[in-house]
Amino acid sequence: MVKPQLQIVTKDSELEAGNELGQAEMPFAMVQGEPMAHVPRDLYIPPQALEVFLEAFEGPLDLLLYLIRRQNLDILDIPLADITRQYMNYIDLMQDMQLELAGEYLVMAATLAEIKSRMLLPRSAEAVTEESDPRADLVRRLQEYERFKAAAESIDRLPRLERDFWVANAHSELRRTREQHPPVSLDEMISAFREVVTRAEMFAHHHVQRERLSVRARMADILVAINSDTFVEFGKLFNANEGRMGVTVTFMAILELVREGLIDLVQTEIYGSLHVRSIQNRELRLVVDNITEEA
């Protein structure tokens, strides 16, 4: 098993590291050994949040809209070069982080590059009409998408059943006696189950790529959650809402921490509950793979 790059940095070495990198200019991510310092400041996203960030977008149009709206720009008058550069930066960042990127994002990158190159070409005055503005089609798509994005939000705000109001129901004995229940065969039910399991398996494959959870990130989370003064109940470290995979990642993270001698796992009685305590010295500061945890 490859040892995760988890290191304990003492105060001294932390100072060294600080001097070397410059406290303010600390790279926020290491990609293939290179600090990612070239990404503009306004693009800063903590690496762990990047996946969440990517999932926050419904696709390339949504990402473009975000870039435009963030600067209070009008869709009709996009500074294309600027927006294209920002868009490319995000794409590069996502690829560097090895996030699975939907092909649509790359298609949009190509489209932007094409529009931009067309805008660089000199055109005769007569030929320049709105139609020939290379941005026109993109603008139309952005506007159209934005309309439906807004429509989706307004549908979400409509009062709806089971959230804002409920259908009134009164008990009726008749319902029981009158309603005919359709017959179901055992075979029918088993084949339904077989199908759902098969489908779930396919779904699982699809999901894994989107929700890769890093064990190292989880190790950091755990170390943040516990301290050396008090014991934390083992079970409290797990969040059942994350499902089997999340629980497993947490479990693996705990195993790693035990192996690294970073935490203490204590069981006071047989079959009693387990408790976890950090055994790191309070003088020490943990640096997980160059991701600095803000104190």
Partner: protein, 235 residues
Amino acid sequence: MSQNHIRNVLEAALLAAGKPLSLAELAQLFDEDSRPEPAELRDGLQILGSDYAERSVEIKETSSGWRIQVRQLYAREVSRLWPERPQRYSRALLETIALIAYRQPITRAEIESVRGVAVNPNILKTLMERNWVRVVGHRDVPGHPELLGTTREFLDYFSLLSIEDLPPLAELKAMSDLNPQLSLPVSAEDDSPLVDVALLTAGLLGEADDVAYVSSAPVDLSVGPCDDDLAEAAH
């Protein structure tokens, strides 16, 4: 038949059914020889509604008929019955249903082209299982893709009488709306409207912003007759 009796049969049926009932279904409730006229049924529903004026429920007409529903006023209290928070719909699902609702009949490919991403099959499945969306036909193009539309259940869920009751879509603006800005007299900075050859050698994604503006700025676009074309193209 007394109005009170009609009112009570309507109330009994609506509360027992727990779903909207159409006037035709309501009429079926009564014995054949004393079946009220639609007007009488409407009167009965009206009376029921005014009886409920001070109550926790109201009578509401939705797409597939009439139903009695608990007023939104009591949502805070009633929702405590179900500690699990109500289901939230993902943006992808909401955008998909919005496109189907406003643009129906629509194919999956058309949804994808507006949203710019592939439609997750699970979303369509959820929408169909909820009976919000159904296949209403096939487009007469190669492959005969399915045309999707919304159902009455969808309208019922959001308490809408018809699809026209959906919130209006935002207006589209044509690019020429911005032309006054673009056609301003050329400023001192960029008084050379011609593109410098050197700029062409600049990296594709380099500092070419100005060029982009210059090349589209000097022409007076406001006379262009293309507003309509664009608006049309957008439809």
